[in-house]
Amino acid sequence: MDPKLQTILAEYDRTRRGELITLLQRVQGELGYISEEAIFGISEALDVPTAEVFGTLTFYTQFRLTPVGRHLVRVCRGTACHVQGSQRILRRVVDFLGIEPGQTREDMAFSLEQIACFGACSLAPVMVVDDDTCGRLTPDRAEEILERYQ
């Protein structure tokens, strides 16, 4: 088992079953995703069925079952972004990165996701690259920004 995973799981036992989501967040924070090994490990540590761990983690959009690329590009699909033309931003980002939302590039350079709303609506359309929120985008500006991360 991944040593980092082992260290986290060692803190947990069945009395902390209510902390399943917090634990998943910690594991993903450490590994970048929830591995198969982690699902079984969490199930054992908290003494909850594997199916419940899997069911819970796939219920929430935050959790990933595959490793994430070096840069995570998240395009907002909120209402304000939609009325300001976020579809065109997404299309350009998809063209530029060569992957669809939910995918990671083979060279592991980028992962692309769509997010319901970042709450930076007055700067719509918005995308977030890693931790940087980029607002008032045009397709060209979105591409320029991504070029910097190449």
Binding site: T79, A80, R88, G119, S122, L123
Partner: protein, 655 residues
């Protein structure tokens, strides 16, 4: 004893604020909420830091929250010794350096760049902020600290009457009296449904069972709404103080703040604020020596819109899938871990300190008959002055959209305003006189919701908007109730067909029927209100549905399947810019020949329209029309318009 302890804390806080901000020192304030950062606030901060260091200029640099003028971000304010505070908008790093140099060195305030004096009197022709259209029509009482205090420093909050309401409640009022005061104030839930807050507290207070829990619902999932995020980022203690008072009134010693994971900065602010409040004994055991204990851990959501619903939220805190359950039992009887639980929205709790400090009579003066106080709205979309605003309940929509927001930019025509997020509806221009309160909005087919307001203009297609919201609710439906899980899916499919031009007339009736089924057959608010965007767009914009269905055209030129791009043969100069820019290689033509678009290759991305030089204006975007063009590229100037029976298309917009 409690009051004395507070007085001691307050005196120390005021002394600290006075030392940190001596009146004889210049101060620079930079707005660094999420919006400010997204607009480039950090670059401005770095530029100012560099300038101060390089030129050895003495000044305090303060990071503040958001004052609400998102349209003018990044914002930078300068306070010269014994001068009022001057605000500047749309500041670039270069301009920031210039302002620092000229202002702090030479006392030149550049009135031509200034937005306003953050004070009562004008200065050098700069108007006071209260006279700006954006602020003139507002009534900022919940937001009174936002943009004025450093949200990371509790002393700044305390020095502005912070935790005075908590002290008053603990020292002078019984829990029942606190509850009665909130009831008498007429405060209603700011999260959407508008249930009377005091009554909700009473249900939980009188319910059998212990311990009792209070939860702050900060799962602000409505796309288009960010008032809770901005409030917490700019003034976290207001919310925490409100939550402590709620716990005292209800008799709870354990609280939770459930915050969505998409708000990292707000989470940082909350953690900081809780730690600071604990250090001053405003939170924790034996608060201010009153014997009242209260603790607040933070629970981070994991990205599920439905968790804004009370029972789903509690399931999520318990570490399970966030799926709603039938009510009754209501959370007040059986909530978190089966115990009596009270859940209030961030916006509701932020009103509590005001009510307790100033009294119910003062509070209920403002607002309409059944909706008291103020409401914070986020004004976004096609609007000149976007931002977050606080207005008295009952303010007409037109005042918010036009007087505060300035209406749609570039003289475009206002078409509709969407309130209440995916649970709300679209209100047309003809109903702009509507006062915003719970009852009026519900009557119009929408809801107050959490307070998002997205303005749409003539370029927005209302069928597309309905489709957009159904895409959202359909993917966010938790799947428990079949009418919601499958009904929203079928509704979405119908709307997609209409947007593709494959709609039929009976689809409208079918949609209305499905709306009823989904609404009646769903357990929680998500399903019950999911049809609202569809119902209101059919009610107010039926002609747009008919244009898509009968005319196979999209009047707003938005639905891709129904639009086409043409290069106008009499205007094209054969420059080749569009051909080189086309990402789909769908444009052919040599230099000085009329270019043509191969419609079988065109992906309708609109790049050609964007790049065609405005002096040519040779690319047209049309729907339901055919524009004659040559079969093959022919030399510029050889196209005979008269030979073609070309008519000016009805829904044509030329660049």
């Amino acid at each position: 004893m409690i009051a004395k302890t507070y007085q001691r804390i307050r005196a120390r806080a005021e002394a600290q604020v006075a030392t940190v901000y001596p009146p004889d020192r210049a101060r620079i304030l930079i707005g660094l909420g999420t919006c400010g950062i997204a607009a480039g606030g950090r670059e401005v901060l770095a530029a100012v830091q560099q300038k101060l260091a390089e030129d050895r200029i003495e000044a305090d640099l303060v990071q503040v929250g958001c004052i609400g003028m998102c349209h003018a971000e990044p914002l930078l304010d300068i306070v010269l010794p014994s001068q009022p505070r001057i605000g500047y908008g749309n500041v670039t790093p270069q301009r920031a350096m210039q302002l620092v140099e000229d202002g702090l060195r030479n006392g030149s305030l550049h009135p031509e760049w200034a937005l306003a004096v953050i004070g009562d009197e004008p200065l050098d022709g700069i108007p006071p902020w209260g006279e700006l259209p954006f602020f003139k029509h507002q009534h900022r009482q919940v937001l009174r600290n936002c943009g004025f205090i450093n949200p990371a420093v509790i002393e700044e909050y305390i020095a502005r009457d912070g935790y005075l309401a908590l002290t008053k409640a603990l020292a002078e009022m019984s829990p029942e009296a606190v509850m009665e005061e909130v009831k008498r104030a007429g405060l209603r839930g700011r999260g959407g449904a508008g249930f009377p807050t005091g009554l909700k507290w009473q249900f939980c207070r009188t319910a059998e069972g212990s311990p009792k829990y209070v939860i702050c619902n900060f799962d602000e999932g409505d796309p288009g709404a960010f008032m809770n995020r901005s409030l917490v980022e700019s003034d976290p203690h207001t919310v925490i103080e409100g939550l402590i008072i709620a716990a005292y009134a209800i008799g709870a010693h354990q609280g939770y703040i459930y915050v969505r994971a998409e708000y990292p900065l707000a989470i940082v602010r909350l953690r900081q604020a809780i730690a600071q409040a604990e250090a001053l004994n405003l939170l924790g055991d034996d608060i201010l020596g009153s014997g009242f204990d209260f603790h607040i851990p933070i629970k981070e959501g994991a990205g599920a819109f439905v968790c804004g619903e009370e029972t789903a939220l509690m399931a999520s805190i318990e570490g399970r899938r966030g799926m709603p359950r039938p009510r009754p039992p209501f959370p007040a009887q059986s909530g978190l871990w089966g115990k009596p639980t009270n859940i209030n929205n961030v916006g509701t709790l932020a009103n509590i300190p005001l009510i307790i400090r100033q009294g119910a009579d003062w509070y209920s003066q403002i607002g309409s008959e059944k909706s008291k106080g103020t409401k914070i709205f986020c004004l976004t979309g096609k609007i000149i002055r976007s931002g977050w605003v606080e207005v008295p309940m009952g303010t007409p929509l037109s005042e918010i959209v036009f007087d505060i927001g300035g209406g749609p930019p570039e003289g475009r025509k206002f078409k509709a305003i969407q309130t209440g997020g995916p649970s709300g509806g679209c209100i047309p221009a003809s109903m702009l006189d509507l006062p915003v309160d719970y009852e009026s909005l519900t009557e119009a087919g929408s809801i107050m919701g959490s307070g998002g307001m997205v303005v749409m203009d003539e370029d927005n297609c209302m069928v597309d908007i309905a489709r957009f919201f159904l895409t959202f609710t359909q993917s966010e439906s938790c799947g428990k109730c079949i009418p919601c899980r499958i009904g929203t899916k079928r509704m979405l499919e119908i709307l997609e067909r209409i947007c593709r031009g494959e709609g039929e007339l009976e689809h409208i009736d079918l949609l209305l029927e499905l709306c009823e089924t989904v609404s009646l057959g769903s357990l929680c608010g998500l399903g019950q209100t999911a049809p609202n965007p569809v119902l209101t767009t059919i009610r107010y914009f039926r002609d747009e549905y008919l244009a898509h269905i009968e005319g196979k055209r999209c009047p707003a030129l938005r639905c891709e399947a129904l639009i086409s791009y043409y290069i106008l043969p009499d205007k094209c100069q054969g420059c080749g810019i569009c051909r080189r820019a086309c990402p789909a290689d769908a444009i052919s033509g040599d230099r000085r020949t009329i270019h043509i678009i191969d419609h079988s290759k065109c992906t309708k991305c609109g790049t050609c329209l964007d790049v065609c030089p405005p002096r040519f204006g040779a690319v047209a975007k049309v729907s339901g029309e055919h524009i004659p063009t040559p079969e093959e590229p022919i030399p510029v100037g050889t196209w005979d318009v008269r030979a073609q029976s070309a008519q000016e298309p009805a829904d044509c917009w030329q660049s």
